[in-house]
């Protein structure tokens, strides 16, 4: 077609955008090996010292553990609430349904600081101190929006006839839920869980106002940035980055396998 030159121009622009997206990540990873510090050019001797420092840094690993605990709790809470919420939105007519839908989604679209401060006010009203479990409740509530959206989309795509058949054949609602509804929602459930997990690991705005003495990883990093920057922060970021990429690859393998199973249900 006559559009060849435009294609080349577009490819060049796209390459530039990719360069922009990856430049900071590349810098981050390269300087995590830099003996001399986080800046300057060219990077000096590349060493593993900062990874050694990172390995022996127990406060940092404590914060990683806290983050993992919070993220797991956030996944459990938001799925436990998001699943009934999605079912209710999909198949129950109740007064204020539209308001409920919008309210659930609000933490997703509002600046995080507003949700964080509102939850802070609730915590103060209830006379509860700042603890790790208040952060878990906060994340679970804010990320319920993600679970609800993903699972609602899954329910909309689901073939309702299967549930009807199950009920007609004498299974009760509970059996139908476990044997038909839930297995059909397997992919959206895994997708929502992964998304909630990563969002929670990275959450700052809500955490900021609910956290007590035990830091999550982002707040630990945040605290250290105020004291000064060392390539150790690059090192932990690089580790996190590669761990995330590994997680996505794992998810892809699961998904392609899951899709293959779905296509051949009897096979």
């Amino acid at each position: 077609m006559a559009a060849r030159p435009r294609s080349r121009w577009l490819a060049a622009v796209s390459a530039a955008v990719f360069a922009f997206l990856y430049l900071p990540i590349a810098v981050l990873v390269v300087y995590s090996f830099n003996r001399e510090g986080v800046g300057g050019f060219p990077p000096g001797p590349l060493v593993l010292d900062w990874y050694r420092v990172l390995l022996g840094d127990s406060p940092l690993w404590d914060s990683v553990l806290n983050s993992l605990l919070v993220a797991l709790a956030a996944v459990v809470i938001s799925l436990a609430l998001g699943l009934p919420a999605a079912l209710a939105l999909d198949r129950v007519a109740f007064p204020g349904k539209e308001a409920f839908r919008r309210l659930v989604l609000l933490p997703l679209v509002l600046p995080g600081i507003i949700t964080g401060l509102s939850l802070l006010m609730l915590r103060v009203l209830a006379g509860i101190g700042a603890e790790l479990w208040t952060v878990m409740l906060g994340h679970g509530t804010a990320l319920m929006s993600v679970a609800t959206t993903e699972l609602f989309a899954g329910l909309q795509k689901m073939d309702r006839a299967q549930e009807e058949a199950s009920l007609d054949l004498g299974a009760n609602y509970w059996q139908t839920f476990w044997r038909v509804t839930l297995p059909n929602l397997r992919l959206p459930l895994v997708a929502a869980a992964l998304l909630i997990f990563t969002l929670s690991m990275d959450e700052i705005a809500v955490t900021f106002f609910l956290i007590g003495r035990e830091n999550t990883l982002p707040l630990e990093i945040w605290g250290r940035l105020r004291r000064g920057m060392t390539p150790e922060i690059n090192a932990v970021s690089a580790v996190l980055f590669f761990a995330s990429v590994a997680l996505i690859l794992l998810w892809y393998r699961l998904r392609t396998r899951g899709a293959a199973e779905l296509e051949t249900p009897l096979g």
Partner: protein, 280 residues
């Protein structure tokens, strides 16, 4: 086909939770905005005083305006970057499409704080960019305006939100049926005309969603300004955070939060109406 008990079992728990953990907190925020602080204690005297203070103090309007300007800059830049990328992937990339799509997603998995931090190490006076410029002998003195400026905030937030803007635009383009483009060509439209008359209008839902998202999230951001903004790059959320922290002016902070909330909700409603109007 569902019994009353089933409906109650799925609807009641999430409704109660949302009422207690979302509705009540936002209502508390609204209530605080009408209260005041007297001798270091929050007193429940209802008045519009905080809102009057907001209108009368020029610094709030100034920072609010700056936040909106920064958010607009981020929105425009990320659309300018994301749109050609989405177009290329959807219509020109061929077999490489899947891999390239994944490559756009991967940066989203780098912590938001870490990406802000990375820009700080690049833009600083002792940073990578200044080191690079000196290495090439382009500059003698370190350039100071890279970091701690509204420019640095816009750059950092653009980097963070470009993939978010890309996703809905790309989804819109993938939904455009390809026979439609063939039809346009068969009826004599040049690729240029097809782009302006078919592809662009059908991308509007994705563009609207992406642009709204970028604007709203960067408008309320408080970390990027603290990391790379400096005093001239402070945004409205930083003021709120300060009022809730050291300044202990919760009611005034709540009033600003309510204004932000109203602005965001109004913007989302406008985007929804615009998008719906466009479809008819």
């Amino acid at each position: 086909m569902y019994s009353r008990a089933y409906k109650a079992a799925v609807a009641v728990p999430p409704i109660l939770w949302v009422a207690l953990f979302l509705l009540l907190p936002y209502a508390l925020m609204l209530a605080h905005s009408f209260w005041s602080v007297e001798s270091g204690v929050i007193v429940h005297h209802w008045s519009l005083r905080n809102y009057v203070t907001l209108l009368r103090t020029s610094v709030y309007a100034e920072v609010l305006f700056r936040s909106a300007a920064i958010a607009l800059g981020v929105t425009v830049l990320s659309v300018l970057l994301a749109f050609p990328l989405a177009y290329y992937l959807s219509f020109r990339a061929g077999l490489r499409k899947e891999v390239l799509y994944q490559l756009v997603i991967v940066p989203l998995w780098v912590s938001y704080l870490v990406r802000g931090y990375a820009w700080k190490t690049i833009l600083g006076t002792e940073g990578v960019l200044n080191g690079f410029l000196r290495y090439l002998h382009l500059t003698g003195q370190p350039v100071e305006f890279f970091l701690y400026s509204p420019f640095a905030v816009v750059l950092t937030l653009t980097h963070i939100y470009t993939p978010f803007v890309f996703l809905p635009i790309y989804a819109s383009m993938e939904h455009i049926s390809r026979p439609l483009l063939d039809a346009s060509a068969d009826l004599g439209a040049s690729p240029r005309v097809t782009f302006w008359r078919v592809i662009l209008p059908l991308s509007v839902p994705g563009l609207t969603a992406g642009a709204t998202f970028a604007f709203v999230l960067s408008f309320g951001d408080f970390l990027a300004p603290l990391l790379v903004g400096g005093p001239s790059g402070l945004m409205i959320s930083n003021i709120v955070q300060n009022l809730f922290g050291a300044a202990y002016q919760w009611p005034l902070g709540a009033a600003i939060s309510i204004c932000m909330l109203a602005l965001v909700v109004a913007l989302l409603a406008a985007a929804e109406r615009f998008e719906r109007g466009f479809r008819h």
